[in-house]
């Protein structure tokens, strides 16, 4: 057991730190122009698609360097490395693994250069969590597919230029995991309509997508016809280490502490109430657990030991922490905690209240805690399927 970093790892951390010191201005000074140059600079550094093979324009970054990069970026509250989260997390790796030479040439560079934002068309109205039960239909017609149907909960759709879309090309199959095909579709395609969905916090990250006789040329198919599920699974399996999230949560924990110090309850400082102190300390134990779980699993990966679904452990912690910390902050601050941005008494500009209503994906849709518990019970503990 050894938490020391090698010299080259430490040097890399230093490199990242000094880069951030030079190139990352305080939050308020970060305007459009800054973002543009930021993206160019991190691209130059090779930190976009850091883990990707060099042949595709990545840096072959090792697992530990990846963790260091994420940790430092999170500590500095830096903007994301590239504009297309989905493109970097799922689409790019999918194309590198299953794509044709043309597809690789055509799509990979634009993702790395933040020229194209991708979204993923997986969920459908009648089976949010049950991804494989796809009804959205594609029929081959000469040199293209004709797509009809609907998707929903498509994150980022309102801002995306391209979508990776799961359709059913065969309804005669026995298993719902067969007969699924993966297509790459421009959002401005004819017959594609985006209807943004407003969430309870008033934001519009999500959208419904409707397809009416949308034509997709066959060369835009990713992988073989009917084998789209394999493509998706390997994409979904493309788990990100949670180190970045953990760092952000430790930051949030500090905000929560100062909130407790600056809040009075019944005329006494909130941080003088043992229950308040223990609640915050309990959050700390969970975040720390996420950190050291993550490091244990990272070590396993490095040593090439089998990882089943341990990442679900941290997903469950994160879900409860995301909701728990915001809700606790709102509760702690009483009536003032209810005010949103613009309220005269709003706490920290209403950010706590807002994010108490802005649930992350881990809590909803495909990632619901109940599903994560099934994964652990079935895949790790070997319990029978529902």
């Amino acid at each position: 057991m050894d938490f020391e970093y090698t010299e080259s790892e430490q040097n890399f951390r230093e490199e990242v730190k000094s880069f951030l010191a030079e190139n990352l201005p305080p939050k308020k000074e970060r305007d459009r122009n800054f973002l543009k140059s930021w993206l160019e600079k991190v691209r130059e550094k090779g930190w976009v698609g850091f883990s990707w093979p060099k042949e595709f324009g990545g840096s072959d970054g090792g697992l530990i360097e990846q963790a260091i990069l994420k940790e430092e970026m999170a500590l500095a509250k830096a903007p994301p490395l590239g504009t297309s989260f989905m493109g970097l997390a799922w689409v790019g790796p999918g194309i590198m693994q299953y794509g044709t030479e043309e597809q690789k040439k055509r799509f990979i560079p634009d993702i790395l250069d933040s020229k194209v934002v991708w979204c993923t068309g997986y969920s459908e109205p009648n089976h949010g969590s049950d991804l494989a039960a796809i009804q959205c239909k594609a029929e081959k017609d000469g040199d293209h597919y004709v797509v009809n149907g609907q998707k929903i909960w498509t994150t980022g759709a309102p801002f995306a230029q391209w979508m990776i879309l799961l359709v059913r090309t065969d309804f005669s199959v026995k298993s719902k995991h067969q007969g699924i095909t993966c297509l790459l579709v421009p959002m401005d395609a004819e017959g594609l309509e985006v209807r943004p969905i407003e969430n309870m916090a008033g934001d519009r990250h999500f959208a419904e997508i409707f397809f009416t006789d949308m034509k997709v040329p066959i060369e835009n198919r990713l992988g073989e016809e009917g084998e789209g599920w394999g493509v998706t699974v390997s994409a979904l399996a493309n788990e990100r280490s949670s180190i970045g999230e953990v760092t952000q949560m430790f930051e949030k924990l500090e905000d929560l502490k100062s909130l407790a110090k600056n809040t009075n309850i019944q005329g006494k400082p909130a941080n003088s109430d043992p229950e308040v102190r223990r609640t915050i300390a309990r959050f700390e134990t969970k975040i720390a657990a996420m950190k050291y779980n993550g490091l244990r699993y990272l070590t396993k990966q490095i040593k090439g030991e089998p990882l089943t679904s341990e990442t679900s452990v941290n997903k469950l912690h994160r879900a409860s922490l995301e909701i728990g910390m915001d809700d606790f902050a709102v509760e702690l601050t009483g009536q003032a905690g209810l005010q949103l941005d613009g309220g005269n008494e709003a706490i920290d500009g209403g950010t706590w209240a807002k994010s108490a209503l802005n649930w992350p994906n881990v809590v909803i849709g495909g990632g619901t805690p109940n599903i994560q518990k099934n994964i652990i019970a079935e895949r790790i503990l070997g319990q029978p399927k529902d």
Binding site: M200, T263, Q266, Q335, L357, I364, G365, T368
Partner: protein, 367 residues
């Protein structure tokens, strides 16, 4: 021994229930929230004609002379549909006048209140987190004719909807409750989570009021009004929580995932059962507290703290899980579940959160 509602009370419940379905369904509620003037005067006069605003006011002041058990029925059923009319605030203002006013003031103010012609609210505390006379920083200074009032009450429920505001002020370690008309003060609408419960910031810049527009607010009365306030909020929590459970329970029966209705999975059905257990429980405690306010003064403090102490935390969890069990649809703006989540957040601190009431219970219990 009869821990149930009377025939009349059951009829009242049916009436309110029907009214909410026919005249104030959720699309109507959403309409009202969109409108600038968030008080729907038409609906307001309808319910005053139905006598809901006169329920707890003695007959000699134009009221119906009923009790808070009856009002509990109305608050529960209106809150079931998140009715944005300020019934609770209005009734609490009436209670304040009944408690603190002299004969003249009662005779003058209560009739228009029971008719609903003067929409009213009550503003006791200034601090977001302090249920106590010490938490009141708004102050009064004596003048020849009465008082000069200054200060800011940042969290007055329904202030933006009201004609009359009954506000508490500090005066030489005592408290004065003054009747302020909307024109006399600045009322700012605050953006908050639960739009069905508008929150107003009321500012008074040396407003002089006549003695006849002020009442003495003793510490005992402050406690009593806090108890009535907590009961009113809890009664609304019972109705709102039950609606969210019904909504979630129906959804669980219809929503198919992996080939089964999700209500067939114990992960869902057991949580629904737990919600039922909690709602049944703070419902019983709420009814007990309402009865105590009407008939057993010596049991009031404990009864109210049992009810609000249980409800505040339980409803907050029900709000979160009610939305969560719906999956993604639950937290979309156009779906109603999230409105109940927001209500659960609003209701939690009102007139004391769980910790406040549990602390009071511990003390009452001799700990």
């Amino acid at each position: 021994m009869d821990f149930g509602f009377s025939e009349e009370q059951n009829m009242l419940r049916d009436q309110v229930n029907r009214f909410m379905k026919e005249r104030c369904p959720m699309n109507q509620v959403r309409q009202i929230l969109k409108s600038d003037n968030k008080l729907d005067s038409a609906l307001w006069s309808e319910i005053s004609n139905l006598g809901w605003l006169a329920l707890t006011i003695p007959e000699r002041y134009g009221g119906l002379g009923l009790g808070w058990v009856d009002l509990t029925v109305v608050l529960e059923e209106t809150a079931a549909g998140l009715c944005p009319l300020p019934v609770a605030s209005h009734s609490l203002a009436a209670k304040a006048v009944l408690l603190c006013g002299n004969e003249e003031q009662k005779a003058k103010w209560l009739p228009p209140i029971s008719e609903g012609s003067s929409v009213s609210t009550l503003g006791l505390f200034d601090d977001p987190n302090w249920i106590s006379a010490e938490g009141i920083s708004c102050s009064a200074s004596e003048t020849d004719t009465g008082f000069n009032l200054s200060g800011c009450k940042p969290f007055v429920s329904d202030a933006t909807l009201c004609d009359w505001l009954f506000l508490a002020f500090n005066f030489k370690d005592q408290l004065v409750l003054a009747k302020i008309e909307r024109e006399q003060c600045e009322i700012q609408s605050e953006p908050t989570m639960d739009e069905t419960k508008p929150m107003g910031r009321v500012t008074l810049d040396s407003v002089s009021v006549d003695k006849s527009d002020t009442m003495t607010l003793s510490k005992e009365h402050l406690t009593t009004l806090t108890n009535y306030g907590a009961l009113a909020v809890t009664a609304e929590m019972v109705g709102a929580a039950q609606s969210l459970l019904d909504l979630t329970s129906e959804y669980a029966k219809d929503r198919i995932q992996f080939g089964k209705p999700i209500g067939q999975y114990q992960g869902v059905k057991h949580r629904l059962a737990e919600m039922f257990v909690d709602i049944e429980s703070f419902r019983s405690l709420c009814y007990y507290a309402a009865w105590a306010l009407d008939d057993a003064p010596s049991e009031v403090d404990r009864a109210v703290s049992l009810a609000k102490g249980y409800a505040s935390d339980a409803f907050a969890e029900i709000g979160i899980d009610g939305v969560g069990l719906h999956g993604a649809i639950g937290f979309t703006a156009e779906y109603d579940a999230q409105l109940y989540l927001k209500r659960s957040k609003w209701a939690r601190p009102m007139y004391g959160d769980s910790n406040y009431h549990l602390d009071r219970l511990a003390t009452l219990g001799g700990l």
